[in-house]
């Protein structure tokens, strides 16, 4: 097997040595640009005032159903609806010539309902809805002359049982001929999981306080046995550190590729406190997963412009982690440009994964197992996701409105061989 790989690599290198096309410098580059309406144009104009680059709105409606809810130990309804809305605002200015500063502000608001959330309480009385809000901020400075950029980002997410604070630093550099680009991003999320347990599994000993005793209900309410103030629900930390690397390359005038890879390390409370596991003896407990996880996803994108109006967009990812999961993702989208400003894009995505070594279905786990989960997110399954998208981007604006420079709508149907099915419809509006 080693000989085969060495042979392939050696043959590939031989091809690479003689595979250069024309690299003679462009002799027209040194010519001074001439302004036909005046004299020589020796300086370009760089606006120093802050201006709005673009505003993007994205809304999605997601509806799902299945029969393997983790809240009820791998059985029970997985009916979920989610209405997501997000707005991104990009502002830019030139601090110095050819140094472009970009500020990006984002705000997302999701509202979801989950039928299984009612059974955090054993009686089914817990609330089923919730909202999440997640603002973000990014500042990037780009040196257009050198082809480099550097930036800092921050992020917050808040919902009733989960709080997240994130930050990142990112850097990119283009190759000398501007046909390739290397990018790197270092990211950290410092999260806190609110310990809301199933009602029958709430710790029986009262939480230490200086006043009267109290009990935490499954929906997160604190009920007092007497007077005094109610302390907050305990939380447990979860940290995620990611190093993302990518390299993109224009291969020829119709073809470009990108390689992506992430190194992810997680630590802390990595399960969810309201997920149940039922053992072979019929007793239940809260799922228990290790306090560390390492992930390695590797991805590859390739886009090809076929003919005059067809674009092939492809993506492949291989994923591996130390919990025993292996996964393959393959996606193909064929964009047909009916006119230069209107395109239709059917797509298909295939996914398969192996089971985590900590997963087992309902009443299969042994009570003596060190770690256990019945969350079907960690099960062995295959899934398919297919649909179609439409994009409209006329030069005079959508429906004649100059400010609305593009409109996109996309529908997809998702199904797993575990009988989970979902539909999602998304709309994106771009303003300039």
């Amino acid at each position: 097997m080693k000989k085969r790989y060495l042979t392939i690599i050696g043959f590939a290198l031989m091809c690479r040595l003689n595979a250069y096309a024309q690299i003679k410098p462009d002799t027209t580059f040194k010519k001074v640009p001439i302004d036909f309406y005046g004299g020589l144009d020796t300086e370009s104009y760089y606006p120093t005032a802050l201006k709005v680059d673009e505003i993007n709105l994205v809304s999605s409606y997601y509806s799902q159903n299945g029969d393997h809810s983790a809240v009820t130990g791998g059985i029970g309804t997985e009916k979920v609806t989610d209405f997501s809305n997000g707005i991104d605002l990009k502002l830019s200015w030139y601090g110095r010539p050819k140094h472009k500063n970009t500020l990006s502000f984002g705000l997302g608001i999701d509202h979801h309902t989950s039928a299984s959330a009612a059974y955090v309480s054993i009686t089914g009385a817990s609330k089923t809805g919730g909202s999440r809000i997640y603002p973000s901020f990014d500042w990037t400075i780009e040196n257009e002359a050198k082809g480099t950029s550097f930036g800092l980002g921050s992020y917050y997410s808040g919902e009733y049982n989960y709080k997240s604070f994130g930050a990142d630093v990112h850097f990119s550099k283009k190759t000398n001929d501007k046909s390739g680009e290397f990018a790197m991003k270092l990211q950290a999320y410092l999260d806190h999981v609110t310990l809301i347990y199933p009602s029958e599994l709430i710790p029986t000993s009262p939480v230490v306080s200086t006043g009267p005793t109290y009990v935490t209900t499954a929906s997160g309410n604190r009920q007092l046995s007497g007077g005094g103030s109610s302390p907050s629900i305990p939380t447990s930390p979860r940290n995620t550190y990611t190093a993302s690397l990518s390299y993109s390359q224009m291969v020829n005038s119709r073809f470009q590729v990108m390689f992506l890879g992430d190194l992810v390390a997680q630590s802390g409370y990595l399960s969810l406190p309201f997920h149940r596991v039922y053992f072979t003896n019929g007793k239940d407990s809260v799922e228990k997963l290790p306090s560390s996880r390492f992930k390695l996803p590797l991805g590859f994108r390739a886009n090809y412009f076929l003919g005059d109006n067809i674009i092939l967009r492809s993506y492949y990812r291989y994923y591996i982690d130390n919990w025993g999961s292996r996964a393959n993702t393959a996606n193909l989208e064929i964009t047909y440009k009916i006119t230069p400003f209107f395109s239709v894009s059917p797509f298909y995505r295939y996914y398969d994964q192996s089971a985590s070594k900590y997963f087992a279905p309902y009443e299969v786990h042994n009570p003596t197992d060190a770690y256990y989960t019945s969350n079907y997110e960690y099960a062995k399954f295959t899934s398919q996701f297919f649909g179609i998208g439409f994009r409209l981007a006329p030069p005079k604006g959508v429906l004649g409105w100059q400010g609305l420079h593009d409109f996109e709508i996309r529908y997809g149907h998702y199904s797993q061989n575990t009988d989970l099915v979902s539909d999602v419809i998304s709309v994106a509006l771009g303003f300039k």
Partner: protein, 73 residues
Amino acid sequence: MTNQIVKITACCIAVMSFCSCVHLHEYQKTRLNDSEMALSNRKVEKNELNFQSYRESASGANAGKTGGGCGCN
């Protein structure tokens, strides 16, 4: 796991090496500069990546979530 990583890396190097990368002038990049040719997710796909990270074990290598930031994996 090490063998699989070595296999994937060797395949990537082979794929890259079979391509002859030409030097492109700006006027030759009209097709590459088409917005549909961008080597990134569409803006409209943003929430699809979120629900996939909730329902599947794998995440990352797609400019989406890699873990953290939400009550997902």
